[in-house]
């Protein structure tokens, strides 16, 4: 009896795994606070969620312990369908947000810098990721300068590229205008973060848990029978 339940449970777990493999998906998105992303733009998710389903990152922050190590990573998220807000929640590690079978997990984060080009509004640019300078054919990339500034507003090193070739290079300090060869300029306003989220759907999960339940029941029956036997 215990044996039958135990071995049937593997079949149930296998069915759950297959369901997840066939009908599930898993992708990652990265966004700075304030960004709204259409979930269909994520390659792994494309075509598997409603066309107008979107995710807005309202905020991201880190809670710290007194000794300077992180105590929690938090992303304030809103799920949008068209222009209707469907769900709103602050997710943390170990506390994902679920919305109609899709789950959103706090998976990582990285540095980003708020940079203002000419008179545009400030834009968040991720560390190490080239960004276009508006109105030009120039690409700019930023790195934290470990030798200047402080951990709240570090100094930056920037490099500007035109057709794969580096045309400018230098340091940028907070709130100082930097001119790039007379063709463009920018002001580095402040440091911010971007959050990395895992977006996952796995309809097989409940089936797997049911299988696990049967596995435990089957093994318990087996063990109960064993322990009731008189020890030789």
């Amino acid at each position: 009896m215990g044996s039958l339940i135990t071995h049937t449970s593997f079949l149930i777990i296998a069915i759950g795994c297959i369901l997840g493999g066939v009908y599930g998906f898993k992708g990652f998105v990265e966004a700075e606070p304030g960004r709204t992303l259409a979930l269909n733009d994520v390659p792994e998710i494309k075509g598997r969620v409603p066309e107008d389903l979107a995710l807005r990152v309202n905020n991201f922050w880190i809670d710290w312990y007194d000794n300077g190590t992180p105590s929690q990573f938090n992303s304030d998220l809103t799920i949008l369908q068209g222009d209707r807000e469907k769900a709103n929640r602050i997710i943390k590690v170990n506390q994902p947000l679920g919305y109609s079978g899709i789950k959103f997990y706090q998976s990582g984060y990285g540095n980003a810098y708020l940079v203002q080009f000419s008179s545009d509004s400030p834009k968040a640019i991720r560390e190490g990721v080239p960004a276009e300078i508006p109105g030009t054919d120039l690409l700019i990339v930023f790195y934290q300068n470990q030798m200047s500034g402080n951990s709240n507003i570090p100094g930056l090193i920037y490099a500007v590229y035109q057709c794969q070739e580096r045309v400018a290079f230098g340091e940028a300090s907070p709130n100082q205008q930097v001119n790039i060869n007379g063709t463009a300029s920018f002001v580095y306003k402040e440091k911010t973060w971007y959050t990395r989220l895992e977006v996952k759907k796995d309809p097989g999960v409940p089936v797997v848990w049911i299988g696990c339940g049967f596995l435990l029941i089957g093994l318990s029956f087996g063990f109960y029978g064993l322990s009731k036997r008189p020890a030789s």
Partner: protein, 280 residues
Amino acid sequence: MNGLENTAFSFAFVAYLAATFLYGLYIANRQEWAGTLGTWATIMGWGANTAALVARSVNTGTVPFTNGYEFLLGFAWGIIGVYLFVEYRMKTRVAGVFVVPIAWLIMAYIAILIPPSQKLAVPIMPALKSSWLTLHVFTAIVSYGAFAVSFGLSLLYLYRTFMETRSDSNRRQVLKILPSLGRLDEFSYQSIAFGFLVLTLVIITGAVWAEQAWGSYWSWDPKETWSLVTWLVYAGYLHARLTRGWTGQRAVVMALIGFAAVLFTFFGVNYFLPGFHSYA
């Protein structure tokens, strides 16, 4: 480690070592008092081991299950806890000579090889902030403890087999206090069956937790993979026993391989195969 934690640890360390010698003396001279003292030393060591875990928990403000040092302290506690139960059930003290030194070696490992940084009371990282932590680690301690006891009983089985082939005058005296091969085999089997049930719970609670923290119940992380290998070795033991009648020496060999897999899942994976499970 602060005062009480340190003192309790040292006490347990000494008590387990003393218990090992007393159990050894009991086999050597067959005097009941040596065995009785061995049991008392083990019980006192276990009390001190418990106190070290409680003191640790007070120091860190959370369950003492959050890094490799704390897990090993729990592992030694689990081995002795299961052992004392089995000693009581088997009504023999001789298995202690093979089981208690396993816990003592773990304590020695903590004292010598665990870096001091792991013994500092630091707050836990976000990934460990889950209500699954306690159940997952506690079940791991219990199942590993049961497997260690089956390992000790298997060694005792081999020791008895060896003694039966010898022909000196000591032989008959020693064999008189050793449990029969059938009994050793049976208790090793029961320990494994229990450890297997609990190991299943360890893997399932780990899967539920991983689904919540990382979004997948199974990622073929080295720790997951090796816990599955361990589970399969013991599943093989149970199948060979129940369907092919593998008992005695062949069962002993599988029990030894199983415990080697347990040790590799902790020590080997931590040192050679880094993965998600980086805290312990």
